[in-house]
C-alpha cells in the first residue's frame, strides 16, 4: 500500500527526470543518429501544436483552422529576437526568453481574434481563423525586412532535444493544470451545452477568450522551437496545409485528451516520416505526402470522429486529487446526515 502511494507521488517526476537525462545524453553519446534526433524534435513540437489546437477544437468544441498563423508569429518573433536583438554571445541563455516572447506575441494575436469571433457561436471562428492564417502568410510575404517570400534566416541551432523535451513537459503540465481547473471544466461545459453553461454561472465569454489566448500562446512556443531547429523559416511553412496537419493530429489522437494529443502527434509524425522513406524507395514523388494528411482527416471524421483516446485520459496525466481513489476518499469525507430521506427512490 505504501509502495503504491510512493509511486503515485514520485513515479511521474522520476520518469520525467530520467527522460530529461536521456534527452541530453542520447544525442551527445551518438546512440541516435541526427535523423532520429530530428524526428524526435518534430514529435515534441507537434505534441505542443496538437495540445494547443485540441484545447480549442477538442475540449471547447469550437473549430479553428488557422493555428499555423499563431505558429508563424511565434517563429518570426523569436527569430527576430535571437538574430537581431540578442547579443550573439548570449543567445543560448536568452533562448527561453525568445520562445516566451514568441508565445506572448501569438497569444496577443489570439486575443485580437478571440474578441470579435466569440461574440457569436458556430462557424464564425473557422472563417475568421482561416482568414487570419491567410493574412499572416501574405503579410509575411510582403514584409521585405523579414525577407518576404524568401524567408528569414540566420538563426543558430538553439533547439536542442533537451530544450524540446523541457518545453513539452512544461506545456503538458500547464495544459493539464488548465484542464483540471474551474476554467477547464468551463471549457468542457461549453462544448456540451453553451446556454446551459451560462445558466449555471459559467462566464462563457471569459472562458472562451482565455482558452483561445492560451492555445495561441502554445502554438507560438512551438513556432519558436520550429524556427530554431530549421534555422530558416519562410511564409510557406505556415500555410493552411500546416494547420491541416494539426487538425489531423488532434482528431487522430483524440479530442478532449492530452494523452490523445501526445499519441496523435507521435503517430502522425512517425507515419509521415515513414512515408517519406517509402516514397523515396519506390521512386514516387514526395508530393503525394500532401494528399495523405487531408485524406486521413476525412477518413477519421467518417470512421472515428473522437479519435483514439477521445475524451479519455492516461492515468499519469490526471492530477492526484482527481484520480478515482481520491474522489472516493473525498466522497467518504463529504458524507452527510442531511438526506431527502423520505423521497429516496
Amino acid at each position: 500500500m505504501m509502495k503504491k502511494t510512493f509511486w503515485d507521488r514520485w513515479g511521474t517526476p522520476l520518469i520525467l527526470l530520467i527522460g530529461f537525462a536521456l534527452s541530453m545524453a542520447l544525442p551527445a553519446s551518438g546512440l541516435i543518429n541526427p535523423y532520429i534526433e530530428l524526428v524526435l524534435k518534430y514529435i515534441g513540437i507537434n505534441i505542443i501544436l496538437t495540445i494547443s489546437l485540441n484545447l480549442v477544437n477538442g475540449y471547447m468544441g469550437e473549430f479553428s483552422v488557422g493555428h499555423a498563423g499563431f505558429m508563424a508569429i511565434g517563429a518570426y518573433v523569436s527569430s527576430i529576437l535571437t538574430v537581431w536583438v540578442f547579443p550573439a554571445a548570449w543567445e543560448g541563455v536568452l533562448f527561453p526568453l525568445a520562445l516566451l516572447a514568441g508565445g506572448i506575441a501569438a497569444g496577443l494575436a489570439g486575443l485580437g481574434i478571440a474578441f470579435p469571433s466569440f461574440k457569436t457561436r458556430g462557424d464564425y471562428l473557422a472563417i475568421v481563423t482561416l482568414a487570419f492564417n491567410m493574412i499572416i502568410k501574405s503579410v509575411l510575404e510582403n514584409l521585405e525586412v523579414l525577407g518576404g517570400p524568401r524567408g528569414f534566416m540566420g538563426m543558430s541551432k538553439l533547439t536542442t532535444l533537451w530544450w524540446v523535451y523541457l518545453v513539452v513537459v512544461l506545456v503538458v503540465y500547464l495544459a493539464r493544470n488548465f484542464v483540471y481547473s474551474s476554467f477547464g471544466r468551463g471549457v468542457l461545459s461549453i462544448r456540451e451545452d453553451e446556454t446551459a453553461a451560462s445558466l449555471v454561472s459559467v462566464n462563457t465569454r471569459q472562458v472562451k477568450v482565455l482558452t483561445f489566448v492560451f492555445s495561441a500562446f502554445l502554438a507560438g512556443l512551438a513556432g519558436g522551437l520550429f524556427a530554431h531547429e530549421l534555422q530558416f523559416i519562410n511564409p510557406r511553412s505556415f500555410t493552411i496545409l500546416k494547420s491541416t496537419d494539426m487538425l489531423v493530429m488532434v482528431y487522430l489522437g483524440g479530442i478532449g485528451s492530452l494523452g490523445g494529443s501526445i499519441l496523435g502527434a507521435t503517430v502522425f509524425t512517425v507515419v509521415m516520416e515513414g512515408l517519406r522513406s517509402v516514397l523515396q524507395l519506390l521512386n514516387i514523388s514526395q508530393e503525394w505526402r500532401l494528399v495523405v494528411a487531408p485524406l486521413m482527416l476525412i477518413l477519421l471524421m467518417l470512421f472515428r470522429p473522437k479519435g483514439i483516446m477521445g475524451l479519455r485520459e492516461f492515468r499519469f496525466l490526471i492530477p492526484l486529487q482527481e484520480r478515482s481513489e481520491a474522489i472516493q476518499k473525498a466522497r467518504e469525507a463529504a458524507r452527510t446526515q442531511r438526506r431527502i430521506g423520505e423521497v429516496q427512490s
Binding site: 500547464l174 493544470n177 488548465f178 481547473s181 474551474s182 476554467f183 471544466r185 468551463g186 468542457l188 461545459s189 456540451e192 451545452d193 446556454t195 446551459a196 453553461a197 451560462s198 445558466l199 449555471v200 454561472s201 459559467v202 462566464n203 462563457t204 465569454r205 482565455l210 475524451l311 486529487q321 478515482s324 474522489i327 473525498a330 466522497r331 469525507a333 463529504a334 458524507r335 452527510t336 442531511r338 438526506r339 431527502i340 423520505e342 423521497v343 429516496q344 427512490s345
Partner: protein, 256 residues
Amino acid sequence: MTLLQIRSLTHWFGGLRAVHDFNLDLLPGELVAIIGPNGAGKTTIFNLITGVYVPSQGEIRFEGQSLIGLQPHEIISLGIARTFQNIRLFKELSVLDNVRIAHYARTHYSIWEALLRLPRFGQEEQRVRYEALELLDIFGLADLAEVPAKSLPYGQQRRLEMARALAIAPKLLLLDEPAAGMNPAEIDQLMDTIRWIRAEFRLTILLIEHQMRVVMNIAERIKVLDFGQTIAEGTPQEVQRNPRVIEAYLGEETIL
C-alpha cells in the same frame, strides 16, 4: 422587501406576443407557481428573468437591482438558479463535474493560480469538491459521482439537475416543469423533495407547471397564463373556482 419584482413584462418573437404585461412580486420564502397550457409563455418568462432573452418591454428587479441587460451568468451569480423543462445536463461529463461547473462563479482563484497550482487553487478546489460531493450525497447521487451524466436513469438525471442548480447557492430557484415525464407516484416524491429543499436551503421558489394538480398542494399562490396573458391569480382554491381558468384550461380536464 420583495425578492423578485416583475413589472409589465412584454416580449415579442417577431409578430408573436409571447408574454404580455406580466407582473409579479415574489416575497422571500414564497413558493409561487405559474401554470398554463403549452405555449402560454411560461418558459419565456424564465428565459427573460435569466437573461437568455432581452425583454421587449418591462422591468425585472432582483433584490432591487435591475436585471435588464445583464448577461445570463451575471444574473445567475446574483443567486438565481434554474432547471430546464427538457433536462440539460452536460451529458458526457461526470456527475461530479456537472455540479462542480455550477461552482464557477463562486470559485475564487485566477488563471495564474490555476496554471501554477498555487496554494489558493488547492484550497478552493478542495472546498468545491467537498461541497459538490456533499450536495450529491444529499440527493443520493454521491456513489455515482464519477459516472457520466448521460448514463443515469431519467429520475436521477432530474435530481442531478436540481443538485446542480443548488450548487449555485441560489436565493431564488426557478423550476421549469420538474414533473414533466413523471408518473403520479414520482410526482408525489417530487413534491416532497421541493418542500424539503425549500426549507433546508431557505429558498424562494418560482415553479412552472403544466399540470394543475401538481401545484395545487404546494404553491401558496398561483398565476395562470394563457397566450401570454395573465388570466387569473390567487390561492389554489381561488384559482380553481375562477371561471376564466375553468374555461381556458381546466375545462378540458373536467370533461376527462
